[in-house]
């Protein structure tokens, strides 16, 4: 069952590659949060109850509700335009993300280690690289934070693969979430909007010779 959720997670990465609007990105992030909740529930059912409750609450409340809601609020508040504005066309993004998935698949096949659960490894690694790719190819700072959140989801999946033996790693993965929220707060507090804000354009109108 966890494999099914992981494959759906990978499809959501492909969708991330061809999404146009920031709100679509937010929806995908929320959906990934719900998927991670499911995966964590199936995978970590054996660890002690307090820790499990903490992890599950973190995924469903923090990843699936709080961060998307706050991102939405920040975009509205700072009046960020709703286009994602990639440097490369989405068509090329799609091909590159597909290549990333194939490469990680081949790579993990080459490693051939008994201790690694390969499907987790493939999904986690391809999520990591997709997040990096999104950070590199998008204009806006808010999309950089979203790319960071995707990377962080990848780290979370990787920690889930060994979560039964080392629950500590899962908690460390969650620490990254809190780090990402500090980023978000930074954008919110400093009101970093688009490069050309609406206000600036209004000021340009006052120019006279």
């Amino acid at each position: 069952m966890a494999n099914v959720l992981l494959i759906i997670f990978t499809i959501s990465l492909l969708y991330l590659g061809i999404a146009h609007r920031l709100f679509t990105y937010i929806k995908i992030l929320a959906f990934q949060g719900v998927l991670l909740f499911g995966i964590a529930f199936i995978e970590l059912i054996q660890i002690n109850i307090a820790n499990l409750t903490f992890v599950l609450l973190e995924t469903i409340v923090f990843k699936a509700i709080a961060i998307p809601y706050f991102l939405n609020y920040v975009i509205k508040r700072n009046r960020i335009t709703r286009d994602a504005e990639p440097y490369l066309p989405n068509f090329i993004s799609l091909i590159i993300i597909t290549l990333i998935i194939i490469t990680t698949f081949v790579l993990s096949n080459a490693i051939a280690d008994e201790r690694i659960s390969k499907i987790y490894f493939v999904v986690a690694l391809s999520t990591l690289f997709t997040g990096l790719y999104i950070i590199v190819t998008r204009h806006k700072i808010i999309t950089h934070v979203m790319g960071y959140l995707v990377i962080e989801n990848g780290v979370f999946i990787l920690s889930l693969a060994v979560g039964n033996e080392m629950p500590m790693l899962v908690n460390l993965g969650i620490m990254l979430d809190i780090f990402a929220s500090v980023f978000l707060l930074g954008i919110f507090v400093n009101r970093i909007g688009d490069v050309l804000k609406d206000v600036d354009v209004d000021q340009l109108k006052n120019l006279k010779d």
Partner: protein, 301 residues
């Protein structure tokens, strides 16, 4: 034989159900289920008018297109029963017979010398080209999963055992539905109801066809819908007895028609220049199916 008869039966009501669903969701009563077939019969009674700039290709193209769809239907099996033609690797035959028909419809559109039709033909060729790898990777992965290479053997030995094969079935259904919409030029990729030549894809290619030829092309569209519906139904039939598979077949066809109707009522079409990337996304999804098959086979565990 049985699949051929059932696909013909399904093709009679398929478009009618789509139109009826669209009417009901927009609050109208809508025409009867058989209205598209009545329109086609009306066209069959008419003669055709040919432009003076066209050559014989324009006159034979609708017949070739129709014949190619019929040939493709002959290959489709029904559960464990073979189609009328069945041999190893017949899914390649299936894809390229349809390709031949598409080629003739494209050159007949170019034959008219209209700039709009050339544009539509170019788009149609591009979209089918992007949909083709998705179909081949999908059928290739199913062939790898079952170890057979003909439609009938693939579908007869396809069984869902583990969780991963369920997701493979769901993804295969999704890909086949999207391929159907691309091949038939339906809503998310092309709007069959549009009245502007610049935004048409398939509709603009048949602007110069009239009477009997137009009837053939329209009926071939119905047949193609029922054909892909039959492929999807085959994924779920397995080796059940006949009294179970016929209701499954008809039920899936009706569900598919209603799903297409609902999709057409509630989604806007994609922007023309973004269509290619959405169609290519299908190939990426089928690649995931392929990796999933590798997982099931234990080539990679």
């Amino acid at each position: 034989m049985i699949s051929f008869i059932l696909i013909i039966v399904a093709s009679i009501f398929f478009t009618g159900i789509i139109i009826r669903t669209k009417s009901i969701t927009s609050g109208r009563k809508g025409p009867g289920i058989l209205q598209p077939m009545k329109d086609i019969f009306r066209l069959f009674k008419k003669g055709a008018v040919y432009s003076k700039t066209t050559s014989f290709i324009f006159q034979i193209a609708p017949s070739v297109y129709f014949a190619s769809v019929i040939m493709a239907i002959l290959v489709i099996p029904f559960g464990q029963y073979k189609g009328m033609i069945s041999f190893d690797g017949d899914f390649v035959f299936f894809a390229y017979v349809l390709g031949t028909g598409k080629f003739f419809s494209i050159i007949s559109a170019l034959d008219t010398g209209s700039s709009f039709e050339g544009m539509g033909a170019s788009r149609e060729a591009l979209f089918s080209m992007f949909a083709e790898p998705a179909f081949f990777i999908l059928m290739g992965s199913l062939a790898l999963l079952t170890g057979h290479t003909s439609f009938q053997q693939i579908f007869a030995s396809l069984h869902f055992g583990s969780y991963i094969s369920y997701i493979l079935g769901v993804m295969a259904t999704f890909v086949l539905v999207m391929i159907t919409l691309v091949e038939n030029s339906r809503m998310p990729f092309d709007d069959p109801k549009t009245h502007l030549e610049l935004t048409m894809v398939h509709e603009v290619m048949i602007l110069d066809n009239s009477g009997f030829d137009l009837g053939l092309i329209l009926y071939a569209t119905n047949l193609k819908f029922a054909m892909y519906g039959a492929l999807i139904a085959n994924l779920f039939m397995g080796s059940f007895p006949l009294y179970l598979t016929i209701p499954i077949f008809l039920g899936i066809q009706i569900l598919f028609a209603i799903a297409v109707g609902i999709l057409e009522s509630f989604t806007a079409r994609f922007r023309m220049n973004h269509n290619a990337q959405y169609i290519l996304a299908l190939s990426s999804v089928t690649l995931l199916i392929f990796l999933g098959v590798l997982l099931v086979l234990g080539q990679f565990s």
